[in-house]
């Protein structure tokens, strides 16, 4: 069976036995030896507050590493000290990543063609900072699938959380935005230069437009849900049979009639 190795970082605990480690340096050694082919569980059972990733951290997930919060309550928080960096993580799950970086972005992607999955992953500035939390750098074409996940710059207003550096092409989908702080929370959270391009795909849990004043490249934004795919149960008496069965058809038929009632003029 070809499966990933499961290792656990449990900072603050003592007497750990592999594959559980309390020292971040051991985690880096093991992940490097596995070429990133690992599921790294963050267990904060022995630790109040955030798990502190040191300023010396230099972990490369090589496009394979998963980082998952596991304990004690199913979600874990990482605080990455300025200077520390975690690269090319494939999956982030039930995790909060917090930093106030200046020396370098604490999360970085530089593998061309990477597909990144996020589920219940939150990236949040802990304070005003000069560097972005997540940097995507050339040569890079990336696809990022964010489900129940969030980018927050409320502690660093206006600063992009993700920054596309150089001629990066990023496909970013954001869906199932439940239990989030604000419908406009993604405003201003993605930045990039004129050579970068961003293809945003949003479902109905996000507002139809996200403001990205810090992004100078080309943006394509698509709502992936359509009125044609939403069922509508009509009051049959209001409609000449057959009544519409989806929102698109219901609206189109009413619009046609309204235009007619409006003297054939378009609806204002």
């Amino acid at each position: 069976m070809n499966s990933k190795s499961i290792i656990t970082w449990a900072p603050g605990t003592t007497g750990t036995v592999a594959p559980v480690y309390s020292d971040w340096n051991d985690i880096e050694s093991v992940v490097n030896a596995l070429q990133g082919n690992a599921k790294l569980c963050i267990d904060m059972t022995g630790l109040p507050g955030f798990a502190q990733v040191p300023a010396t951290a230099s972990l490369d997930g090589k496009g394979r590493l998963e980082i998952v919060g596991v304990g004690p309550n199913g979600e874990a928080e990482l605080q990455i000290a300025d200077g520390g960096q975690i690269k090319n993580v494939q999956t982030w799950r039930t995790i909060v990543v917090r930093a106030a970086p200046s020396a370098k972005p604490p999360v970085k992607y530089d593998i061309d063609g990477m597909v990144i999955d996020m589920f219940d992953a939150t990236f949040i500035y802990s304070a005003v900072a000069a560097a972005a939390l997540i940097s995507v750098e050339t040569p890079s074409y990336i696809a990022m699938f964010m489900v129940e996940s969030a980018l927050h710059n409320n502690h660093n207003p206006g600063k992009p959380v993700i920054n596309l550096v150089g001629n990066v092409v990023a496909l970013v989908s954001i869906t199932s935005n439940s239990f989030q702080q604000s419908p406009t929370q993604f405003d201003g959270t993605i930045g990039g230069g004129t050579g970068s391009s961003l293809n945003l795909q949003l479902d109905g849990s996000l507002p139809s437009s996200i403001s990205l004043p810090g992004f100078a490249g080309a943006v394509t934004q698509t709502q992936i849900e359509s009125a044609q795919g939403i069922a509508f149960t009509a009051n049959a008496a209001d409609w000449i049979s057959p009544p519409p069965s989806n929102v698109q058809t219901a609206m189109q038929r009413m619009v046609n009639l309204l235009k007619s009632l409006n003297g054939g003029n378009p609806i204002p």
Partner: protein, 135 residues
């Protein structure tokens, strides 16, 4: 090509596709998924990001049947090569879709909060204005 079902005994299969696609872009018109005789397939397609058309990617004989469950990211699509019965159900419904009126003053009393309510109220008013059911 994916073949589903046994020609002799048929098959009952469930296929749940999330963020997934069937592509015949390099083989236009050819089905990607072919169902066998007497096979029954329940197929759900959801959360289609970066959409790839499913047009004409499913085929099967008249004895095969297909029950499609689509969310609002995937509109119905043509299946010229599928000759059996197809039942299509939308799993996203208007009475679960929130609506925030852009102009609350357009509504008497509490404004609708769901698309279903908004459409029903508009339809009722249109019926009154039009003097009969909506064509």
């Amino acid at each position: 090509m994916i073949f589903m079902g046994s020609p002799s005994s048929g098959a009952y299969l469930i296929l749940l596709m999330t963020d997934s696609g069937l592509m015949n872009s390099h083989n236009p018109g050819a089905p990607v998924l072919v169902m066998g005789p007497n096979s029954v397939l329940l197929m759900s397609i959801a959360t289609v990001m970066f959409p790839i058309p499913f047009d004409n990617t499913i085929a099967g004989p008249a004895s095969a049947s297909l029950e499609l469950q689509l969310d609002s990211t995937q509109p119905p699509f043509p299946m010229g090569g599928f000759l059996g019965p197809v039942t299509t159900t939308f799993v996203s419904v208007a009475n679960a879709l929130g609506y925030t009126p852009g102009a609350p003053g357009n509504w008497v009393g509490p404004a609708p909060t769901f698309v279903q309510q908004a459409l029903d109220r508009i339809a009722a008013r249109v019926v009154t204005l039009g003097g009969g059911p909506i064509p």
